[in-house]
Amino acid sequence: MELSMSLILGQLFNGLVWGIVLGLLAVGLTIIFGMLDVINFAHGVMYMVGAYAAFTFILTLTGLLGGSGASFWIALFLAPIVVGLVGLVIEFFLLRPMYDRDITYQLLLTFGLTLIIQELVIIIWGSMPMSFPTPKILRGVVDLGFMFYPKYRLFILIITPLIMLGVWLFLEKTKYGSIIRAGTEDKEMANLLGINIRRVFTIIFSFGAAMAGLTGVLAGPVIGSLQPDLGNAVLLGSFVVVVVGGMGSFGGAILGGILVGLTKGITTMIWPPASNVIMFVLMALILVFRPQGLLGKR
């Protein structure tokens, strides 16, 4: 198969889109791990609930407002809030008692939540695939010169780094962000200085969940058809990204996402059957040569 410019660049773009979505998901995961020391297996279902909630919002709003023009953007705002609330409830009632216990309790809890939430999604929405509409202004393709590329995918490539930048600015430049970082560095000291650590943890977890939900909404048009097993495939990928980039590292999540995405894109071109496995090979290499991840500290 001759490797034309359009093919190469096209595959790289495809890989990048996929990788950057994983990266955004990994950012939420790594924040929760970095701050709370919790490995959130339920992150995948949060992503899925975000997509499903947005789907329902779009459906209802389209009925009220007509045309899935504004309804997608409203859903983009509302759905993560819904998921954030779900995260809040989970953290407050279920996760809090587990902080002082062995890490296995948290793993079991978040894993169990995955199963429960997945079944709840089936009960509420059914298991039949449902078609997620692309917002009107972003339908169609753009002529990039070397190939035509879907507008919506380009949108993802632009908006996701902006979101990541926003989160980074919040953590680095705002007062609340510094409180969060202080809590990570030294829980006890922050507590002694009068910071309500328990509240900070709740906010962080629901924020991470909201980010997962946001990723779900953004990914909705690209996924195309929603099914209750959405969370599983993407969860695995996001964990790989976190390991590759370094657990707890914000920059690592982004870098890991880009790396995993580009690797997949290149592999799809050269040797397609390996494209789904290559990220695990990458993870294995990182674990052998740099186990703390590319930008990891611990």
């Binding site: 889109v17 298991s127 695939p129 078609s131 509409p133 879907p150 195309g224 058809s225």
Partner: protein, 413 residues
């Protein structure tokens, strides 16, 4: 000491009695009563084809509704098992349901790979087996057995109806690029389609195999588009087809090539969505607008019971169950050998009109349709996806498929 021994032996006695009653009671309620017969669905009830598997089970139950869940005076029990899209699991569940329930009818069909494996169990356990898998091999000499019947068209028939029909309508479309699911059905469909394309003067300029569980088809589409074919053919089914068709539309492929989906089901069209589907050429075993009494009645009853329009998979499995019930009534027995004889060669009014259950390979012969997906503005109701623009009925003849039954029956001439 004596009291303690007395107490403990009393305990042991009552525990044993309790367990004995428990087992008997439980054993009784799960075993089939003597005057009961069992119809079973052993199909993909979870995973990428779950939507279809679920429809198949519903179809069998609808057929049983029609006869008041009684055949030859015996009550009918319906059970289902999930093959999880894995041949090994399908084989295991088939054997399990035979051992536990002794069904007189087993329906399956989503995945050809699973069907090929399950077919052998049907012969092994001498169970009547209606399959809707499309791999041509399922009714081929050497692999088919006398216990197996199929309503769905084989890949050979599909290719010679929808692909051939398409090429006749568009003789200027010469170059084809296909995206194919990498497993038994996909590869078989690709082979049959390629043969038809080449037979009719076209050329298959490329093909991409995608794993069954693949969710991201951007790579495959990009490859297809860079080859600049006249036609992009999607040899996929279930949720992979949904994702691939949507990606095809997303990348603007419809403006640069014709898109042909040789075969699919209504559940998939719903998943793809009218916007993405519009303008694609879509083959189908049956469409719910079929203008005959059977179809009208089936659509009405399915809608009434399940609140949704049925896909071809419902029609296929409904007919299989219905014909089996009627065959049992005809020969006055549920004995599998007699039922086979009653089914072979039988002609009846089915979903596509007059249909015949061919005696020599147990394939039901009927037309296969080609449709063109409407624009959303042309649709009169949510499931109004297709305009049927053609049909074909080309099956392998006895010469092309010389089946010889291993099982000899009294009805052999």
């Amino acid at each position: 000491m004596k009291r303690k021994t007395c107490q403990s032996s009393l305990f042991v006695l009552s525990a044993t009695l309790f367990f004995a009653l428990f087992t008997v009671f439980f054993g009784l309620s799960s075993a089939t009563a003597a005057d009961e017969i069992v119809f079973a669905t052993v199909d993909d009830l979870s995973g990428p084809y779950a939507a279809s598997g679920d429809e198949g089970a519903k179809a069998v139950q609808l057929a049983l509704d029609e006869v008041g869940w009684k055949v030859l005076g015996k009550k009918v029990k319906f059970v289902k098992r999930d093959t999880q899209l894995k041949p090994a699991v399908g084989v295991r569940k088939f054997r399990e349901v035979v051992e536990q329930e002794h069904p007189v009818f087993v329906q399956s069909g989503c995945s050809s790979a699973v069907q090929l494996a399950m077919q052998e169990v049907a012969a092994d356990t001498k169970t009547l087996f209606w399959t809707q898998g499309w791999a041509s091999k399922l009714t081929s000499a050497g692999t088919v057995n006398r216990y197996t019947f199929r309503w769905d068209s084989s890949n050979f028939a599909i290719a010679n109806s929808s692909v051939a029909g398409f090429m006749k309508k568009f003789p200027e479309a010469k170059t084809f690029f296909s995206i194919t699911m990498d497993y038994a059905w996909g590869t078989d469909m690709y082979t049959e389609a390629k043969a038809v394309v080449e037979k009719m003067g076209g050329k298959m300029i490329g093909n991409v195999y995608t794993p069954i569980k693949e969710t991201d088809y951007s790579g495959a589409i990009t490859k297809a588009l860079s080859a600049k074919p006249d036609v992009i053919m999607l040899n996929l089914y279930g949720s992979p087809l949904i994702k691939c068709a949507r990606a095809t539309a997303e990348f603007g492929a419809k403006d640069r090539a014709k898109v042909l989906i040789p075969a699919d089901g209504l559940t998939m069209l719903r998943g793809i969505g009218a916007e993405a589907l519009a303008g694609m050429y879509v083959g189908s075993h049956w469409w719910h607008t079929a203008d005959n009494a059977f179809s009208k009645s089936l659509v009405e009853r399915f809608k009434k019971k399940y609140n949704t329009i049925p896909s071809y998979y419902v029609a296929a499995n409904y007919v299989g169950a219905q014909q089996t019930i009627q065959a049992m009534e005809r020969c006055g027995s549920t004995d599998v050998n007699k039922v086979i004889c009653a089914l072979e060669g039988h002609k009846y009014d089915g979903p596509t009109g007059k249909e015949t259950i061919r005696a020599f390979d147990h394939q039901v012969v009927h037309p296969f349709l080609l449709g063109l997906a409407k624009k959303p503005s042309e649709m009169k109701y949510p499931d109004d996806y297709l305009n049927i623009i053609g049909s074909g009925e080309v099956y392998r003849t006895y010469k092309q498929n010389p089946v010889v039954w291993k099982l000899k029956l009294p009805c052999d001439k």
